[in-house]
């Protein structure tokens, strides 16, 4: 049995080890309502849109799943569907686009969930695992390793709430961090391309840096493309081996 205190232990340890174990990323078709990630731990059971957090519960044990589902509903979560192995987890994920997935530790679908994290980095979802009593050792160690988990026997109140909040918070923090890193990387790469394209244009047309840049910007605006994309095209055209051959 885990108190909220134990759960916050997982939170504290998240920087130390592979705390992303439970935080898988799912490819889901682009949805019409844009999803934003929040950076703070959300103490309510609401998602960023202000509605109840929407969950999918994956468990082969019907009896146990019913108990867990009832508990989750009581706490104000919206349970979109309760599915057993073989009832198309992938399909359900794409259709419902849940905020959180809650999966039984002993579900064969765990490899399926992990495959989703590998296949794509789009529209990720946090995952919470739960188990029967008797797996204390494993769950304890899993929490120390950063997995957000709780036990089915203790579905009342704080523990589940804490587990889900932590999963969402860890996930949001990770997602924000990753987004930031991706943006920085892209900006850096773009800047390099623009610099190179500028240099090529300056050399080819014997023009000043400013003029080269405004040429690129005009191209981008005319073609409704980013500066980086246009720079890439310019490099591909001007810097191709054939072109270089002609120049010499």
């Amino acid at each position: 049995m885990f108190s909220a205190g134990h759960a916050s232990l997982a939170f504290r340890h998240r920087h130390e080890r592979a705390w992303l174990t439970a935080i898988f990323r799912f490819p889901v078709k682009t949805r019409t309502v844009p999803r934003t990630v929040h950076h703070e731990v959300d103490v309510s059971s609401a998602n960023p849109r202000g509605t109840a957090l929407r969950l999918i519960l994956v468990d082969d044990n019907r009896e146990r799943a019913a108990v867990v589902e009832a508990g989750l509903r009581q706490m104000g979560f919206e349970v979109l569907s309760v599915i057993a192995t073989g009832s198309g987890l992938l399909h359900q994920m794409a259709q419902h686009e849940p905020d959180v997935v809650i999966i039984a530790l002993d579900s064969p679908d765990r490899d399926v969930l992990e495959s989703l994290s590998i296949a794509s980095t789009h529209n990720p979802r946090p995952v919470v695992m739960f188990s029967e009593a008797g797996d204390e050792g494993f769950i304890g160690d899993a929490i120390r390793a950063g997995v957000t988990a709780y036990q089915a026997q203790d579905i009342s109140g704080a523990t589940v709430r804490a587990a889900i909040d932590i999963a969402v918070a860890q996930f949001s923090a990770f997602n924000a961090l990753k987004l930031e890193l991706d943006t920085t990387r892209r900006q850096l790469a773009e800047r390099k391309l623009v610099e190179k394209a500028k240099g090529l244009l300056m050399k080819m047309h014997s023009i000043a840096e400013e003029e080269a840049f405004s040429t690129l910007r005009k191209l981008a605006m005319d073609k409704h493309r980013t500066l980086g994309e246009v720079a890439g095209d310019v490099i591909a055209i001007l810097d191709s081996p054939a072109k270089r051959g002609k120049q010499t």
């Binding site: 592979a18 192995t85 679908d109 765990r110 399926v112 969930l113 495959s115 590998i118 494993f138």
Partner: protein, 396 residues
Amino acid sequence: MMDNRRLPAPEKSDLTLGYLRLTDSAPLIMAQELGLYEHYGLSVQLQQEVSWANARDKLVTGGLDAAQMLAPLPLATSLGAGGMRADVITGLALSLNGNAITVSPALANAIAARGGDVQAGASSTARALGAHLRSEGSSAAYTFATAHSFSCHTFLLRRWLAAGGIDPERDLRIIVLPPEQMVDSLARGVIDGYCVGEPWNSVAVQHGVGMIQATGYQVWNNGLEKVLGVTGEWHQHHPSSHLRLRLALMETCSWLAAPEHREQTAKALARPQYLDLPVSSLLPSLSGELVFSKGEPAPAVLADFHVFGRYQAGFPWRSDGEWLLQEIAAVLGKSLPTEQVKALVQQSFRTDLYREAARFLQLPCPDRDYRPANQHAAAWEFQPGIQLGPDLLLRP
């Protein structure tokens, strides 16, 4: 059988080993049945796991001492791809080959209509599938399944598709399903085909819901399939228990190499406490007499469908490790620097541990860590006294 009194005492003698409900769990199960764990002073509890993720997580968190693992998994775990990152090593491979690609009867008919014939080889069916896909244009949306993102199943399927000029990313969809769900999903039309280990190909054939289009062997002759995984930390604290475990399993694998032991193996595996399946589902691949589609007049004789003992099957070749790691990178859509590949494989594929065990058993073993790939169509001599099997790869 060696005299185990020469061995250092085990640091831990009660061990829990994880395995999945697959025919090539035979080494772990038969070591128990033959009393070989006991012979090496170990008391082993076998624990069936329902997912590779669970087996890995329990291994890493200490719930399991050792586990049967897909050959790429120690590498993927050491890389931190997909889930928990931890140093997982292997000093012993448990099996080569053992997989097949099965499709629905409807798709099998389409393949046959375009001249695809599994008896003529895997490239025959792959090319026919490619021709079929191109003829239907973009309207065809086929879905194939494998048992894990980082498995030989995924790599074999991708290679087979490539041989048919099919882009596994664009031309169809590959998803992951638990092995036991494959047959049912195929029957219900959720998927059109899959690559998985036995008995899940034979079961589909026997129920008439699937037809085998290629064996894993046809795609990669004698490819590394399952390994014995432990964490680097567990090995450090239990070197002698680990050695004893490898010795017990190596002796079992040698025993399994004899064709006359395979029926006994099928009967043992079939029992409720192990795979809990009919002997008739396990026997085709274990006896090397595989039926590709229901009602076939005679089974194909494939003596190397499962290789446990011959061709130095237990040796964790670093060349194979590097290939697997590159395939992992391909699935992730990135390339890894050569130095990182070499370093990770050296850390994870412990040929030194295999040699240590071979010395105790006075078995000859390869003195180099790398074997050539795609060069031999028949068994050949790697070095005096060391015979390796064919190593052809299906050409893309």
